[in-house]
Amino acid sequence: MTSPIEDAAATQSHLDEQSERPKRGPFDGLARRWDHLERWQQWGVLALVAALVYLLPVLNPPLITSEPSNDFPITCANMAIYALAALGLNAVVGQAGLLDLGYIGFFAVGAYVTALWTSTDSTFVKIPYLWTLPLAMIVTVFFGIILGLPTLRLRGDYLAIVTLGFGEIIRLLATIIPALRGQVGFQNVGAPPGTKSDGNPVFANSSGTPWYWLTVTIIILLMVLLGNIERSRAGRAWIAIREDEDAAEIMGVPTFKFKLWAFAIGAALGGLSGALFGGLNGFVNNQKFDVQTSMLFLAAVVLGGAGNKFGAVIGGALVAYLPLRFTGLAEYKFLIFGVILVVLMIFRPQGLFGARNHLLTYASRARRWLGEKTSGSGATAVPATEESSS
């Protein structure tokens, strides 16, 4: 399937790359220093960062806060939910290189699952809110596979347009099917249990902090698990597919299977974030699941650095944060994110944080082994590359 143009392009790009050193990004130095830290030091820094992240809505730092236009804890909760969605999309777009423009469809399915099984407006059997989180993931994975089975065999740009169509169909079906209540929507979507001393629920729609902590905890857990996947054959297969799908397949990688996995994982995370979104707002209708929001998720992934899960999380948080903090920007937000997309693609396609993934579980072992072997002969192990790391 190599068209001559691609072949030529590949040759040319290799020649180019030899002559031109990769450009450094603002955070590359940071990443390099990170790589040089010992494991325990890394854990220490991570623990400190995690503590700060958890305390963010409580600290409500001046300048950073989104008040007085938006309640800061709620802003934080929104940031976390967008970050989670971006994390899921990152697996699909950033790592496997599948351009999914209908990601909002999964987000919507998750929100609707929560609404259908917890809202007082729904005629369905009611289940506790927390149960809807795994349920939302299961349902969206089902949708992801239904969509992926026929479409993942398509070429990249066809996939983009078909997924775009999928997202729109989900939104339109939410309008057409009476049980999904269109714009009327579902009120009183459930929340995790618990009541405060004043009688109001802990997870009220007006208290963002518990929602934020819940979502951040989920994100941290998922990042660990995604890291495990990344350093396995699945993660390697994704990057290989992104880099050169044909070559990956010719090297014996069952590409379709791993593309489907990427799609399913992305869908699950999209559904999960949608379910949290539904719970936080306490209201779900068909209004927010449009293509624009899909584009915002995409911008989040690209902004952070496609393929880098930390980058995706930060990108997602930024995309949610900026319009809430700078409400004056609200009118311009899509313009700004559009410009960011284009400028990044032209000048820094790897995003703010590069996209260097560690794909081997025991890479350090290999490095050590190599060090022992070559130290005798005087050669030194080549240090990790210039690209930043995740």
Binding site: N70, D71, I74, Q183, V184, S206, N281, G282, N285
Partner: protein, 409 residues
């Protein structure tokens, strides 16, 4: 270049065609008195002015109001985004009320804060929580739209903060047992039944009902269809952002209806009316308050001559005194849809503050038992938060402007 040659060839073909038919091209546009179809429409006379109702409560009050410094009324609703205009209409009305009040009451300077929700349910939680957490805010005007009102009513309820919506018309909103929610206008159930009354006044016998996919349009179409009874000539559904209505129009023409009721917003209503007239429809186009907008006339062009509107809103521009005051706030613009409602709602809250009810629980109780005449209507709420007496006004397009034809409901 051969390319430009091809283009001009195509244009020439177009020119030939047009030239062939051009002799008739200027023989007048569609006129509302064109007749034909199933019946001839009567043109209802326009109202020229509305007297300020006797005994209407004004924002200025008696000038003796006393309240703590920093007492604040907030507007929460769209200020930017697609729905910004409606929000601007409202908060200018509120601003006007507060300006008049503060000018007349040196002892009670009420602050006004505006918070943007973009009219979107998922954006609304943050601003509403922010407002409920701001202790000085004792009353709120908003939220303008039904979706965001649904999403946030519970937060107001939990905070015990009274809010009066000047424009959210979904009937279900008052079924939530919220004690803090009040509606300053009639809901969709009031407007729907006005459609057959208006149709009767203009002599339409068969009405075709078209609805969009919004909560608002669906609800209106339902109540209007029920009220129209066997006058319904047929129905069809369109979708937000639709531009081509030819299929719907074929159905309408086929049904021989002499009026079309479009339950939706002007963005789709205008091209629908325009394409309808373009296909030779001679009947009347009726739209609800969502279509009643100057934009409708701009977008529908000369076709808009056949348009009538229903609206549970009073024509603010006809109340001289109000219109003058509004222009001072809005930078010369005429009052828009729901400007008066915004003013009236703010006035209710201000009169409570003047009477010393400047805490959240006190103001809530005050609104609950309020009974007074406003510029637009009499304000007295039932236990759900709906007004007892409601008027629906009819409007029509006359000479490129929307004019009132008086109450119809």
């Amino acid at each position: 270049m051969s390319r430009s040659f091809k283009a001009s060839a195509a244009v020439a073909a177009l020119a030939l065609l047009l030239a062939g038919c051009a002799n008739d091209s200027s023989d007048g546009g569609a006129t509302s008195d064109g007749g034909g179809g199933g019946g001839s429409a009567k043109v209802l006379p326009a109202q020229s002015s509305i007297e300020t109702p006797a005994g209407a409560v004004k924002a200025a009050g008696d000038g003796k109001g006393k309240c703590a410094a920093g007492t604040t009324i907030a507007y929460v609703g769209a200020m930017t985004g697609d729905n910004a205009q409606l929000g601007i209409n409202i908060y200018n009305g509120v601003q006007q009320a507060i300006n008049e009040h503060n000018k007349a009451n040196p002892g009670c300077q009420v602050k006004f804060s505006k918070v943007d929700t973009e009219g979107s349910p998922d954006k609304a939680t943050g601003p509403v929580t922010q407002v409920t957490n701001t202790k000085n805010v004792v009353g709120v005007i908003g939220l303008p739209f039904s979706g965001e009102s649904k999403a946030t009513g519970k937060i107001f309820e939990q905070a015990g903060l009274v809010h009066i919506t000047p424009s959210a018309t979904n009937p279900d909103l008052t079924k939530n047992k919220w004690t803090t929610f009040f509606r300053a206008l009639g809901n969709d159930n009031v407007q729907g039944p006005a459609v057959p009354k208006l149709a009767e006044k203009i002599g339409a016998k068969k009405v075709f009902v078209v609805q969009d996919d919004s909560d608002y349009g669906i609800g209106l179409a339902k109540t209007a269809t029920a009220a129209l009874g066997d006058k319904v000539a047929g129905s069809d559904k369109v979708v937000t952002k639709q531009k081509d209505f030819s299929a719907t129009i074929q159905k309408i023409l086929n049904s021989k209806a002499d009026a079309v009721f479009y339950a939706g917003y002007f963005a789709e209503g205008a091209p629908l009316d325009q394409q309808l007239v373009g296909k030779g429809f001679k009947g009347t186009f009726i739209g609800p308050d969502g279509v009643k907008d100057d934009q409708f006339i701009k977008l529908a062009g000369s076709s808009s001559k056949n348009a009538y509107f229903t609206c549970p809103c009073i024509p603010g521009e006809l109340i001289k005194e109000f219109a003058t005051g509004y222009k001072a706030v809005s930078g010369g613009k005429d009052p828009g849809t729901y400007s008066v409602e915004g003013y009236d709602a703010a006035t209710v809250l201000l009169s409570g503050i003047d009477k010393g009810k400047a805490t959240r629980p006190a103001l809530k109780d005050y609104v609950k038992t309020y009974d007074g005449q406003g510029l637009s209507k009499k304000f007295k709420w039932d236990d759900k938060g709906e007004l007892a007496e409601l008027a629906v006004y009819g409007y029509r397009v006359d000479n490129g402007k929307i004019v009132s034809v008086g109450t119809i409901g």
